[in-house]
């Protein structure tokens, strides 16, 4: 079973899925003709190409020599993604400083055994650096702290 789940079959399936998904999502686009292409001509052609290449890649996965997927660890993947999303969602309502602390706390979870306390000082330094460079230096319209009164 796991012999079939190698880099090639999975990558092939991924491209196949993206291509097919694009064809479905773009079915209402106007293709037009070669001398007067509609908005769908080139993107849908790209989708068909991905379907074809996906099949080709997956076919390569049947070989016994197809490279296996190196086992990954979920922890760094989730922690880094969470760090970015925490920043994205905290920034506008809560301000830059809280967003940075939230992001740094999430990021710290990527490595086991990092005490949360040890994140606070680097996060404070980082906040100061970001404020100095981007807000005071470049004048980006970011607010440092939560805006009161829901403004």
């Amino acid at each position: 079973m796991s012999r079939w789940l190698n880099q090639d079959t999975l990558a092939g399936a991924l491209f196949l899925a993206i291509g097919a998904g694009g064809l479905v999502a773009g079915r209402s686009l106007n293709v037009g003709t070669a001398d007067a292409m509609g908005e769908g001509y080139v993107p849908l052609a790209a989708c068909w190409l991905m379907v074809g290449l996906g099949l080709l890649i997956a076919a390569g996965g049947v070989r016994a020599s197809a490279p296996a997927v190196e086992p990954g660890r979920l922890r760094p993947l989730l922690a880094v993604t969470a760090a970015v999303l925490a920043f994205a969602f905290a920034l506008e309502p809560l301000g830059v400083v809280i967003a940075i602390f939230a992001s740094a706390l999430c990021a710290a979870r990527a490595v086991p055994g990092v005490a949360l306390r040890s994140v606070l000082l680097p996060a404070a330094v980082l906040s100061l650096a970001v404020l100095a460079i981007f807000v005071w230096g470049l004048g980006l319209p970011l607010h440092a702290l939560p805006r009161l009164g829901g403004g």
């Binding site: 880099q7 090639d8 999975l10 990558a11 991924l14 491209f15 993206i18 694009g22 999502a25 773009g26 686009l29 106007n30 003709t33 070669a34 001398d35 292409m37 908005e39 769908g40 080139v42 993107p43 790209a46 989708c47 190409l49 991905m50 290449l53 996906g54 080709l56 890649i57 390569g60 490279p67 190196e70 990954g72 922890r75 760094p76 993947l77 922690a79 880094v80 993604t81 760090a83 970015v84 999303l85 920043f87 994205a88 969602f89 920034l91 506008e92 992001s103 740094a104 990021a107 710290a108 990527a110 490595v111 680097p122 980082l126 650096a129 970001v130 981007f134 470049l138 980006l140 970011l142």
Partner: protein, 503 residues
Amino acid sequence: MDLLTALLGNLAQGFVVAMTPVNLGLCLVGCLLGTLVGVLPGIGPTATIAMLMPITFYLEPTGALIMLAGVFYGSQYGGSTTAILVNLPGESSSVVTCIDGHAMARQGRAGAALAIAALASLFAGTVTTLAIAIGGPAIASVALLFQSPDYVAVMVLGLVAAIVLAHGSLVKAMAMIVLGVFVGLIGTDVTTGEQRFTFGIDDLFDGVGFVPVAMGLFGLSEIMLNLESRAQDGGLARLRDRLWPSRDDFRRATPATVRGTLLGIVMGILPGGGSTIPSFASYSMEKKLARDPLRFGQGAVEGVAGPEAANNAGAQAGFIPMLALGIPPNAIMALLVGALMIHGIQPGPQIIARQPELFWGLVVSMWIGNLMLVVLNLPLIGLWVRLLQMPYRYLYPAIIVFCCVGVYSLRNSMMEVVFMAVAGVAGYVLRKLGCEPAPLLLGLILGPMLEENFRRSLSVSGGDYMIFLQRPISATLLAAAVLLLAFVLLPGVRHQRERLRDD
């Protein structure tokens, strides 16, 4: 003679631009930053340039390009420092430098290895700068004759070459390019005004932002992979002896440097060439040419000088197609094209004629930057060594935050930050499946240009695809693309390529 005076005049104009205090300062900042990320394994020039893009928004386009270019070639210098002292490639382009560079360091000749690497890079940088100054305008003047079918053909050639030179599977690289083109077409269609694949998300109407995708694909996924495998210790070599190489070192290194430079320029111009492949190619060439190949791996000076010259030449030669044709040969050049477009400069052969101060200022600044790097780097090596001991766990949260702030500030939109997170996960998954992200980025930046020219060509020809074969320029370029593809599919070459990948 006229050409020479014209060249000197242009270079003089470049000096005026590059020597202004602001541009000199930006060049210095770029070089230092480049060296820093080059020294630190786990963060590369692509991610750094992506991170700096928003800052360059506040600069003049020339200054912005000068700084970003400095990051790129600066990282080539920094990468070799780590390779020699710690036996870790600071950048992928310095993988081969580890072999003989670190062997020299273990023999107590770290200083000589570092100096040879720096001087070889300086030589390569100087020659390549001249090549850009001469080759860029020449190619641009030919490219001014290009019509849309020719542009389609040159882009196809570029993409084919990117496939050929990508690491790993050809079909996967091809699929990544198509995926990139597809993602590049998301947004409002310029010709018909129709929405394509936007799913009603406002932030997609103007297309998928180039910067969030690049930062996610390269920056974030790199951090994720680094955090997975942090088992590494090469043992720091000490700088015991004098820095200056012996006369014998120079005798051996000089021809290797010249060969490495030429190889780097030729391969760097080719799309997909970048700086990594020339350095590998130079190493195997030096090994083949050497009278006693057994010295390689035991601290052969040629094994440091050749690849170091080649990677620096390759890094800079990529500017030729980028500036002369507007076609980026690798992911970093694609980012620089993106930086130009942020400033409203349409890349293409008209840049050199219309923005001479940009082109010549950049060319001259690259030469100044190379000089700065040698003068600065050798005394600063102690500092870099200390930086190498900084734990990664202080570094990566800062990188994440800078990426977030940078992406947000481009359009003041939190959705862009979310897109970056999505691109990060995508990059992680794709890399795990053996798909290198660089071709995707090329497809993303070329996609809209490709579609526009493809459409225009066929509407001129009344839907006849033969137009691509009827124009001599496009026919020649397409023939070259077919030949290139056929060449790598030859069994022998294919075998060699796969072996190279396994090394």
